[in-house]
Amino acid sequence: MAWARESDFSDLKEPFKTLEVVENKGTTSLHVRKEELLNLLKVLKEKKGYKLFLDHSVVDLKDILEKDKDFKNAVAESIIAFPEDRVSRFQAFYILFNVDEKKRVVVKTRTKETLPSAEKLWFACKWAERECYDMFGIKYEGHENLVRAFMWETYPYFPLRKDFPLEGFPEEELPSLNEVIKGDKLQGTMNYERKHTFIPTLEDLEITERKRLQKKAQIVLNWGPLHPGTHGTMWFLFDLEGERIVQTDVILGQLHRGVEKLAENEMYNQFLVYTDRMDYLSALCSNQAWVVAVERMLGIEEYVPEKAKYIRTMLSELQRINSHLLWLGTYALDLGALTVFLYCFKEREKIMDILEGITGARLTISYPRVGGVRMDLPLGALEAIKSFTGRFLKELRDWERILTRNRIWLKRNKGVGVIPPEEAYFYGVTGPVIRGSGIPYDVRKIDPYDAYAEVEFDIPVGEEGDCYDRYLVRIEEMKQSVRIVEQCVKKLEKLPESAPFFAEVPKEKKIKLSMDGIGLKVPTSEIYSSGENPRGELGFYVFSIGAIKPYRVKVRPPSFYNLSVYPYLMKNRVIADAVTILASIDPVVGETDR
């Protein structure tokens, strides 16, 4: 990945007294004091061209600061900003992307409790700040409406802090889970009665809702949490004037499972299972992004055999088609074209069959491993894939005949939900959404992982940035994916059957890489590595202190930031457009909430 170089920021040393530039193996970071943070971000955005906001979150350094050994290691690898400050327990980081020069930078700062809000610079940051407030209790000065992102307002804890009680709260009980049918009581670890956690009451939810949106117009329509148009459990509040929407807000968190907290308590390979359950429609792409991130941290990317790389690339492209098919089906369903849905599912079922035959699971795939893949391709896999891609384009043409130039389809999509390029940066959208706005931002090209550097494909971009362009972009992406899959199949057919599918790491590396991933120690380092998911850039910011478990994992969920543009797009639109725009953004709740 092209990370920014130290020399890029030599002119900033002058105005920013406390600025330090650190070049690490995986990242380049700018360390700056809290007081100068906002100015630096502003300069980076407006003068330096770091326009696209990727991610912002916080690392709770409490455990490191308390342990001298860890602290020394971390300082030696310079992954902590301002190590002389041993009191401020939070380290905030902002990851930005330079659009013109195609490089990233991390801005870091330290704080005890408060941070200045960067919501004026990037709207996406506003949402990220809400999340940090929710998870770490960081107060943002100047934030317009600092409410919790996922938990309800009256929830008393900050889950991602290191002192969050993992064992639960013995005095709290989950009534529905503790309900015991007679004779169904089990002893020891098999006893499910030990689930002690908080659940919100109706009053809590009401308080949460009240905090969100000040009613301006006639009625507030609760669109969700369970509604067929929201594609999951999202809760939208529409303030309606007739059928026109005056303002919108989103309440997330109905599917929040604390994946990031789980990551801190799982080994590197085991966390793979949870990446399945984030973006459950493209589990394999998420798996791949995570595995690549860990491989990069270990420095074994080049040892991963060619076969494994091609298999991963091929399957994740199949998964991309799979995911886009579900999107196309539900998109058409939302706009009333009921039949396309089942045509898409027909083809999707074939992909599922192939994936099931190769990996053993249809949805939660967990097939890639750090260092390769779980097992070799079975007999007949390539034939099946070839016969699928051979017919798929024909089917795709059929569906395009129904939709692409249908006058109703055009009327419903053209000019609806327009995202101009500048707004795309402002809201931090990625994936097909930003490409629909005409910006060729694709991680597969910018930061090629696995075999993407070796295969040919185009990046489709739209012109207007409306729903129709996003539709076209996704349709074209499927065609490009077919192209990639065909190239991979060709390559894999040439490779001998006995070629290795798992990394043979040289002994002197002393990394215990095993199939089960037990004791996979990752050196003290940090990395931001991302993969191109069907929904956008899925990034993993991993902060390691040389243990078998990561110290902090921040997932950059593409759907979450893509969704942040939704209230802006919904202004002065009718409810019928709500489904169009939402479906064209295509969020997956498993990922927005994690």
Binding site: I358, A384, S387, D469, E476
Partner: protein, 213 residues
């Protein structure tokens, strides 16, 4: 590299003659007179592929153990090998590899002759993510996942697999499918209902597969 997408607007002729509708209608009518592709579920069932990650099972001692790994582990843990019973050597590697280790409850007991044997092996599938890490971890090819996918039950208790059940499922699977080659899927009529339009004929294989990939 970068591909700009554009679609030409509807012409007046297309608008007046409803050609766009007619195109769409022609596609749907074509499908309406094609064969249906569905499997009529409770009455017809697909055979899952051999690699399917379904319910767990224990392979039993039947002379096909992976050698020399099995003898080494038996030696190391002083395990009493009983033909027809589980191959488990109580190494706990499955529990170690599991993302949710609480779901395993494994205990061994000492026999009178000083050797050990597995006595308790409970898996609480309510907590299981069916990721297959434990299967990868098993050094003696004992624990593995079968093609049983209808896992619904009326009580939570039924979601717990104990040693006897694991062995029973294992024996059943070994007699049904262990000899099958490691193919993408086994041909069956139901799957062909979907795939017939792709004209796919998977190659037959003479190789007899075991569960070691």
């Amino acid at each position: 590299m970068v591909k700009k997408l554009k679609v030409k607007p509807l012409s007046w002729l297309e608008r007046i003659l409803f050609l766009d509708f007619i195109k769409g209608l022609s596609v749907t009518i074509k499908h309406a007179f094609s064969k249906t592709i569905t499997t009529h579920y409770p009455y017809e069932k697909l055979t899952p592929p051999k690699r399917f990650r379904g319910f767990f099972a224990h392979k039993v001692v039947d002379g096909n153990e992976p050698q020399p790994a099995y003898d080494e582990w038996v030696e190391r843990f002083k395990i009493e090998v009983i033909p027809g019973r589980s191959r488990c050597v109580v190494c706990m590697l499955c529990k170690r590899a599991c993302p949710v280790p609480q779901l395993f409850q494994i205990e061994g007991k000492k026999l009178e002759n000083g050797k050990r044997v597995v006595s308790v092996f409970n898996m609480n599938l309510m907590l299981c993510t069916f990721c297959g890490f434990c299967v990868d971890a098993c050094p003696v090819d004992c624990l593995y996942q079968t093609d049983i996918h209808e896992t619904a039950s009326f009580t939570r208790k039924d979601a717990i697999l104990d040693l006897e059940l694991l062995e029973k499922i294992g024996r059943d699977w070994q007699s049904r499918r262990e000899e099958e080659p490691d193919r993408l899927w086994s041909d069956d009529v139901e799957r062909n209902k979907l795939w017939y339009e792709n004209n796919l004929k998977l190659k037959k294989s003479e190789k007899k597969g075991r569960h070691e990939w």
